[in-house]
Symmetry: C2
Subunit: 406 residues, 2 copies
């Protein structure tokens, strides 16, 4: 039931980055569940990870390896998240990494592991390792679409975004894939997102780029308010495009690159919400006129996480009192309720804290019946603003999450 999400776009290859996918039977048979992303020597990498304190074993190891040097490959499995598995879980992840390192003839600490799936159960290391030859065999610069399928769990559609643009006289590509579905309220990056470019960028500039892009994209989506233990977003830059090296987070070339990477991140992040578990509505929440951005975000998240607001969206019910109540309970220091305006698309439902005089249920109903809804909240307190994307709470969300694992 993905909302406004269609087939994968054309995924442009990124020079220096090859992807291979296999069906290793990690948790289910005959399902692509193993992805290797190999990058050429000289590739620069930046990544952001979950801020959940119970971060998964692969996250711990990926952080350590990323600090050790530029990665040469990413190893991704679905089925099991390898989280809540303690020291044995880290050993499992390391064994997988070592097996891939041997096959690719690179040091083990140049490989970053990523896992997604059920929390708390051990990784079937032998099955995963047995799947590696097929994944490595399949490595190909044209492997993006296969990989997009290979990282799916409860996603109903693969998610990808790809762009080409000119940078310093050279044609540059940015391609990326992501997966999401549930336990989505990233506090750093979403479940799994892998984006690569062939632009030449320094590590410092790439770090700035991923930070700025994530803040406006992956950190601005919410399905259910639950931050995963495995959230990871990786940005690779192979440097093969021939553009003049971007060595700092400033200047026109950096701005062009950031804009394009943000665009890819934004599409991938929105795709996760459009294909969220049980989603029937895609909702853009804009909170503006806040005293600061943190207040705007808190208000937006309080609305986005409210089960009552989410079920009203599901029911196409313009029960705007629930939105107003969510704004009123947001944990911000000051709120002048008499200054608050709320709009559903262009229909003003709340004016200065109370029902707008010319509001009618029919007009609200017409907007709520749409698959895509734009909710705007003006706080009347300042100039700050933020945007968040979320979805509704449907019968299917409960069904999917009550049945998951069974």
């Amino acid at each position: 039931m993905a909302v406004g999400l269609s087939a994968l776009p054309d995924m442009y290859p990124v020079r220096g980055v090859r992807l291979g996918t296999a069906a290793a039977g990690i948790r289910k048979q005959d399902r692509r569940d193993l992805v290797v992303i190999e990058c050429a020597p000289g590739t620069v990498a930046a990544a952001v990870f979950t801020q959940n304190r119970f971060c998964a074993a692969p996250v711990t190891i990926a952080k350590k390896h990323l600090a050790a040097g530029a990665p040469r490959a990413l190893l991704v499995n679905t089925g099991f998240a390898n989280a809540g598995t303690g020291v044995p879980g880290e050993q499992d992840a390391l064994r997988c990494v070592q097996a891939l390192a041997q096959r690719l003839q690179v040091p083990a600490d140049r490989i970053l592991p990523f896992s997604t799936g059920v929390i708390g159960e051990r990784l079937p290391v032998e099955r995963l390792i047995a799947g590696l030859p097929a994944a490595v065999e399949a490595l190909d610069e044209a492997g993006w679409a296969e990989a997009a399928y290979g990282i799916m769990t409860t996603d109903t559609l693969p998610k990808g975004s790809s762009r080409r643009f000119m940078l310093g006289g050279s044609s540059v590509t940015v391609s990326g894939i992501s997966k999401g579905a549930g336990m989505i309220c990233p506090n750093m990056a979403t479940l799994l997102a892998f984006v690569a470019t062939d632009a030449a960028v320094s590590k410092e500039a790439l770090n700035a780029c991923i930070g700025a892009a994530v803040r406006q994209t992956f950190n601005r989506i919410s399905v259910d308010g639950d931050t995963s233990t495995n959230d990871s977003c990786v940005l690779l830059a192979s440097g093969r495009a021939g553009n003049p090296l971007i060595d700092r987070a400033a200047g026109e070339d950096y701005a062009v690159l950031l804009a394009n990477i943000t665009a890819v991140f934004s599409e991938l992040a929105q795709a996760i919400v459009r294909d969220a578990e049980g989603a029937t509505k895609f909702i853009t929440i804009d909170v503006s006129q806040g005293g600061n951005e943190a207040d705007c975000l808190e208000v937006a998240q309080t609305i986005a996480h409210s089960p009552l607001v989410k079920t009203a969206f599901f029911a196409s019910d313009p029960n705007w009192g629930r939105i107003l109540a969510a704004v009123g309970r947001a944990r911000i220091l000051r709120l002048d309720v008499d200054s608050v305006n709320i709009y559903l698309d262009d229909v003003q439902i709340v004016k200065q804290g109370a029902r707008a005089p010319d509001y009618t249920e029919d007009r609200g109903q017409a907007v709520m019946a749409q698959a895509e809804i734009h909710l705007r909240v003006e706080l009347g307190a300042g100039q700050a603003a933020t945007r968040l994307w979320t979805c509704d709470l449907s019968h299917d969300y409960v069904r999917i999450n009550a049945e998951y694992r069974s």
Copy 2:
């Protein structure tokens, strides 16, 4: 589908407090929807109200009137919450209050109004006023049970609690009623709770008593994390029991009174969770060994509000990774994940941050299949602790809230 909640207990009359209920057709026909609670001259009152900034018109007026002097009556309606209605909403509430004041021959500012129901629509003042004679006619010290029915909205069962005990040589009664169902995450008091005692208590001691009791009861329940615009909890003390006046928040008599009032509040608060919208499970969350109580509460609430944890409870699925992930994302300053232990009843599922060695799915499953579940989290950081009551998230929660109003 109320969990472990049966018929109303015997509701002991409270000397000096009379209750009258009527069916005024405020939103639906032939349904008790109007309650008047009259208290004798000399009654002392204390109350706590929602901290939602969009508090309802009746809350604004009740606060004002409570500050003006000791109330002589409470006027309660269901059907419409009279919230988000601006200045006209306050005028509506005042007209109702004035009509009752005239009939009871008391000043209007001695009456506190309370409303619950749909947010954002105007109160049908004429129908409400037309129902007043019947409610006043019915006033009776034995009217508690009728009133418990009269304040219900999506509640499936009426909620009441009543106790008798000796205080300073006198027999004292505490009786109370409440209603809840949805939009329950009180941040001061729950939707509506009215408790009365015939004990002789000063206003200062009564205020201390309601504060202490609410903090451990109504402020420790959550159905969906949504704080209502209308939460109100009122504690009346008619002083007719003949006990020596309790004039300060100390001493043995105060302790006995507080213990009994807390017990009544606790039963009423738990009853709200047991009869929450769609609830099939009643879950007690104890978080202990915290650095301070605020941390414990934040962890408990993060678990209680997680849709993934709530759907796992609904499914009787010991998917404890979701609990662990919720603990890990709680907004507390410090969390040493390697010190965390988690138990389902007596089954340890997480030991020092990872799956407990002797845990088996069968043992977890056996606990999760129960209608009442005790979840314990030890943070290993200090001596603080708190307890919270919550419920699961079921198909019926979505159905009820998607269909409400229709």
